[in-house]
Symmetry: C2
Subunit: 624 residues, 2 copies
């Protein structure tokens, strides 16, 4: 081709890859038939022996020569002396001088022999040689994927070794000065190389043989040397570029110096920086460093190449129809892979979009499925029907209780305990008001909230105002307070102090943000005077993480988060963290499981062992 | 329970098994996260470190303290000296004394520093600590099956070891005096133990840990000792009884002496002798010895127990709708698992029933799918719609050319060569007339036949009489003759000789049977005088196998079969082995592949190397 392509469509990319992989040929290897499950035959395999390889009895009885039985009749029994027959069980050898078996039910034992009352038909009750497999029969043709049942046939036919296609060796080269191995402790500025191991697991799952090379720093020579070695040793190679744009150029330079770059940039999101090159007929894939981009490039591009070379179609993920909960605007430039949570709310399966950042690994771990938005569409309207490729077991979806709202560690405990009971708790953290809105939109079954009303009472006012006829389940009381560095070096004790330090805030609509605003007003502190008032984090834990990492000095949060990050804590207020839901949920089996758990001793013990919680009212139900 | 149950339904059996497996608990083990794909978490896993664990730049640019930028304006640029900023690439650490990153596009390098024209918003272009995962976040709950994407999240969160459920250890005990190991040569009367390795492969596929014990002879004490050991070492145990009924009783005696037999006999076919016992809470399955029975018991009973204990649902095989080609009568006593071949003939997917014997391993290897006939049904009418659970890749079905008719080794060669081209040749051997009938019933695309007409011309007469407007493709000429033992010890030279030896015949409707009858009449030999005229085998190879195994002395067959079994051969006649099909097939891509192959040099070379064939007319087409 010689033409370098930039930002092409996924379909074009696949075509170029198919063309590029065409000359790649796999060799064969001989392996033990017993351990050949899932491998693909390289050549036809013919039976080495017949099965059975001898004439066998198909019954328990006696083997005879039928000529000796011709005279037998009900009225005229025939006596056979011992030497004229042999007792056989099912599967036993029938000697060459016999040609029929008489069932045990049809003989009468007498002294010195047996009596029969019916002639035998030649070859009755006999399993002929090769009845199952005759020697020379083709047991498996070429290019057949060996299943468990094929192992039976091969071994029965005396084929103890099979010639199969070698596994596709895929080299994985992690690059970047910032990378450290998983077994090392990363310093500030360093990243754990988890991508290469995830790639290895994926390749293993596809039936390949992943070969991971050591991490290579950002050096033209080192990358070039490793790549040359990998191209020699593997069928295809993955270069995992560091996520750092500023230093990523080596990769492309090296690829150009050793071979030909066929494209760089595919119109998928996440995953745009994907590239493809050929080095002496060996396909080399440039996979971006951001984990979510990396996943989609592996899943859509490298996997496509892998199965083309394997000359096999892979089993597609299951798909379900769902209704998108919120409008999603998507660029006309790219196919977008939108990660969604799934939940059956009412009769409809609802797909709620998750965070769209390429760097958020957890958005994949938390996702139940992926919706592909074609680049010819500007997005999806709320309520529109979409096809979701599901990432978890389909049968789990109906067992999932969907919770959207505020976060607390107790929700993790409940989630874990529900899993033990065969249910799932799908928990999205968007703050209390976000939870109420999700209930309104029918996206969620339940919403955990903590919203201080003007009357000083938690939650009821908000539910009345926004939802109406709903139910509140009292969950826990917890302490909110200032999370500060160990020893409180900046001596932060009241809201006035916040104007002289670096504050870390929560997002708008979260209960904690509303609590801060309430106290700021009460204490007559101007929010514009607080450095960091506009700095928003989505959970207590991420606020605490900033302070523990010394990138902030103080944030409002719950005691459990402070304990988790080993921070000091100055209590400010007690609050009610409750669960809101529509009353119809009271009859829902998933909710019943939730309820059973929060009222169990096991739950109480776990929560109390964390500290900072009061479970006095847990389980009480208020009809608003 | 204490009540022993005989011949219960599959549903009842499953319930009893669930009850019996209820107390079985799996322990946990710690494994390396990198190699944890597909394992199930034993407990929740919380992030050990945040990801990122430092404040990182989200852009290439400079890190600044936003306070130093407040005055900047398009009209009033601000100069920042070197000490007031740090150059950062995406992913780089942002030091604690900085709180914003300005993109490289928005700065102008000057001597001793940079100039900016816009103030920085605090925390702009910054990736906060824990943006992906905050320390303490639950990354995975209990009972979560680890996917490749989860490995990313775990490793990113510093979780290098995961606590997972141990694999279910399944003991496999092959029993029977007649069994020999796969690496041994079986004597007459001995059987290769292939079942245990097939079971091991299945258990591996389910995610278990198969533990195969050595073959145990038919001895009460030995079986008892091995079973005691296995029950101690494994979570569940499979006792694979020899197929010999007469000796199988030990198993049940042993089970009764060590524990409690819960049922023996399930109303499924094949697979009725299945049994289930509990020995001190350890489930023990009696799996019958016949390979096809064994497969269905493993697939329906043991697998059910395995996934109950694993507390996971397994992914069902794909199903397709098809139309059954022939009436199938089934017993009201049992659920029957009918093995079928699938082929898309015209617009319909046709399922053709295969042999129903429990001992024929190849009926599973050859099957494309399984139809379950419920025991409340007497069978299936021809043309009835059925659901087929498919055993091969769904996408292959449309690529399959269905051939039903006479067998010749060249059909195996073509099948193998079609596989290499991405097509399948599904070949059923029912004799020439069977092939013609299959075409009439629209079960097959093509039928290989060799039928001698009264005029001495092959095939055309039969096609005219039974099919009409069809097409004949000339394939090969081959030699038919007497297959006799090496050296022709019984001096068999003509048809008269057949009355004094043990003959092995072919089934009615086969071309070879018709050929024999033609010659017997011509030579005035009475078929009733031939010992073995009623002894029917289905292929040339199985006839040859009887003679090679000395269970017969002579049979009519093709030279290639005699060569394959190292027999002597006395030529009798040359015949035309041709392919019949409807003319619409000429446009069919599968047929085109077939045609391309038979006219290729590769095919000719392979056929000629076997010997006994003439390819003079190969590829000629006759419109009947």
């Amino acid at each position: 081709m010689g033409i370098f392509l930039n930002n092409i469509s996924l379909e074009e990319a696949k075509k170029i890859i198919e063309e590029g992989c065409r000359t790649l040929e796999l060799k064969n290897e001989e392996i033990d038939t017993r351990f050949s499950l899932g491998r693909t035959t390289y050549e036809p395999h013919f039976a080495m022996i017949s099965s059975p390889h001898f004439t066998a009895s198909a019954m328990d009885g006696i083997a005879v020569n039928y000529l000796h039985t011709l005279e037998a009749d009900i009225t005229k029994p025939v006596f056979l002396e011992n030497s004229k027959y042999e007792v056989v069980d099912t599967g036993d050898l029938v000697r060459d001088d016999f040609d029929a078996v008489i069932m045990v039910e049809d003989i009468e034992e007498v002294e010195g022999g047996v009596v029969i009352r019916k002639p035998a038909v030649p070859y009755q009750n006999i399993r002929p040689i090769g009845e199952d497999i005759a020697m020379g029969t083709m047991v498996l043709p070429s290019k057949h994927k060996i299943r468990a049942i094929d192992i039976s046939s091969l071994l029965a036919a005396g084929i103890n070794k099979v010639s199969v296609y070698e596994k596709i060796r895929v080299g994985i080269i992690p690059t970047g000065d910032e990378l450290v191995n998983v077994w090392e402790s990363p310093d500030k500025g360093q990243l754990i190389d988890y991508n290469s191991w995830t790639f290895a697991a994926m390749i293993e799952e596809w039936g390949g043989n992943p070969i991971r090379y050591d991490i290579v720093g950002d050096s033209y020579e080192l990358i070039r040397d490793t790549l040359k070695r990998a191209v020699n040793e593997c069928h295809m190679v993955i270069l995992n570029a560091g996520s750092a744009k500023g230093r990523g150029d080596f990769t492309e330079e090296v690829l150009k110096s050793l071979g030909e770059v066929k494209f760089h940039g595919v119109s998928i999101k996440p995953g745009r920086p994907a590239s493809f090159a050929l080095i002496k007929d060996t396909p080399v894939f440039g996979v971006p460093g951001y984990p979510v981009s990396a996943f989609f490039v592996m899943d859509n591009i490298v996997k496509h190449a892998f199965f083309k070379v394997k000359n096999e179609s892979f089993r597609e993920r299951e798909r379900v129809e769902a209704y998108i909960s919120r409008k999603v605007v998507s660029s006309l430039k790219n196919d977008e892979f939108l990660r969604v949570k799934l939940g059956k709310v009412g009769q409809k399966l609802v797909a709620s979009p998750l965070g769209r950042g390429a760097g958020v690994t957890m958005s994949l771990t938390n996702a139940d499925g992926v919706v592909k938005i074609d680049k010819n569409h500007e997005g999806i309207e709320a309520g529109e029907k979409v096809m979701v490729e599901i990432l978890k077991n389909k049968s789990n979806i109906d067992k999932t209780l969907v919770s959207i709202g505020s976060h607390d560690i107790v929700m993790d405990i409940i989630s874990d305990m529900m899993n033990m009971e065969g249910y799932d708790l799908s928990s999205s953290h968007v703050g209390s008001m976000g939870g109420i809105m999700a209930l309104k939109r029918n996206e969620a079954h339940i919403a955990p909230i903590h919203l201080l009303g003007e009357n000083g009472i938690y939650n009821i006012d908000y539910v009345k105002r926004y939802l109406g006829d709903y139910v509140i389940l009292k969950l826990i009381k917890r302490v909110q307070g200032f999370m500060v560095q160990k020893g409180n070096p900046l001596n932060i004790n009241n809201f006035k102090d916040l104007t002289r330090i670096r504050y870390v805030n929560r997002q708008k609509g979260s209960g904690t943000r509303l609590l801060l605003d309430y106290f700021l007003e009460k204490n007559e502190v101007d929010k514009n005077e607080i450095n960091g008032y506009t700095r928003e984090e989505l959970t207590h834990l991420t606020v605490a993480a900033q302070i523990a990492g010394k990138s902030g000095d103080c944030g409002l949060g719950v005691l459990s988060a402070a304990i988790c990050m080993n921070l000091d804590f100055i209590p400010i207020a007690n609050e009610d963290y409750d669960i809101v839901f529509h009353k119809s949920m009271l009859e829902d089996e998933r909710f019943k499981c939730f309820y059973k758990i929060i009222t169990s001793k096991g739950f109480k013990d776990k929560v109390m062992s964390i500290g900072g919680y009061d479970l006095e009212d847990t389980g009480k139900i208020i009809y608003v």
